[in-house]
Symmetry: C2
Subunit: 188 residues, 2 copies
């Protein structure tokens, strides 16, 4: 998986070959093929690996925080900029390319859907807890806030890759949009 | 451009050949090459064409509306679901693939940046007008609302392609997020 990550960073998704991945690992191309029938099969495993690392980092950040406010901040921070080794900085382009292939490859679509749904569950759970505890607006809709969050994260990823939008701006924008939903605000 | 659009819908970006495009047009492959040196050059022209059609549709929708409220609603409606012939429904995947290649192809990056900046200008202009007219909150930040808008649109595109998110949901989510920024709201 680490060799695949390095090969993807270096070659990108479209030009990647099994040989590139073998070159980054201590395995021969034949040994790679023993484990994975095709580049596609290996990349499905890689997408799953990266998603699991990402979600594990998000959950760990949440566990380290107290109360709905802190938990939500920790989750959003981590989702925008995951820590090493699940740091996706060099992988954002490759991940976007994989997701863009989702209409053609059922396994990419399934992995993308699972990961999207799981992140939404985490966010919705925190929002529901915050509403129950009276920390957030009573009429805040956990599912809607979760969908807003994953949409802004996806937009930040796409704009980061295609127009060079900065992560820090995505984080600020996401925090404000979520805040608008969770806090009462005085009439201007 | 129409032949390219049809060929993209049918074959996708990764597998597209000049022959596929020629097959959809009334030109031979040689004639296509007379106008465009490479598939990449043709696709740069295509990305530019689609961006122009999209922005023209957005501007026309804005012109047909009165006042900041209506103008903003018309722009957001059109940006989420552009009318024919700039209907991007069948092209969303191909457009996403092109944008995902932006780090590798300077011309894709430039077109993506121009189009992103122009849409932001349109939205920011309407918000500024609405603030000046007293229709929106006095402290609404036109640039921030514009950035939020293009980020949610990008997220809707990526989630539409990768996890099958519905346009209607993106529209609702976008309207509410923008509304949160522009309207005073009572304390819960």
């Amino acid at each position: 998986m680490c060799a695949t990550s390095r090969a993807l960073r270096e070659h990108g998704y479209a030009d990647l070959t099994m040989q590139d991945i073998a070159d980054e690992s201590e395995l021969s191309k034949a040994a790679l093929h023993y484990h994975y029938d095709s580049k596609r099969e290996l990349l499905v495993a890689f997408l799953e690996f990266v998603s699991e690392q990402f979600l594990a980092a998000v959950r760990e950040a949440e566990r380290g925080a107290d109360g709905p406010d802190e938990r939500l901040a920790a989750v959003l921070d981590t989702a925008v900029a995951p820590p090493a080794p699940s740091d996706l900085a060099g992988l954002r382009t490759a991940l976007l390319e994989l997701r863009a292939q989702a209409p053609y490859v059922a396994a990419y679509r399934e992995r993308s859907r699972e990961s999207d749904a799981e992140l939404r569950d985490i966010v919705a759970g925190i929002v529901a807890d915050g509403v129950a505890a009276g920390d957030f607006r009573a009429d805040a809709d956990p599912e809607a806030v979760a969908r807003l969050t994953v949409t802004i994260l996806a937009g930040g990823l796409l704009r980061g890759v295609s127009v060079g939008a900065e992560r820090e701006r995505t984080r600020t924008l996401l925090a404000r949009a979520v805040e608008d939903r969770l806090r009462p605000r005085e009439v201007a």
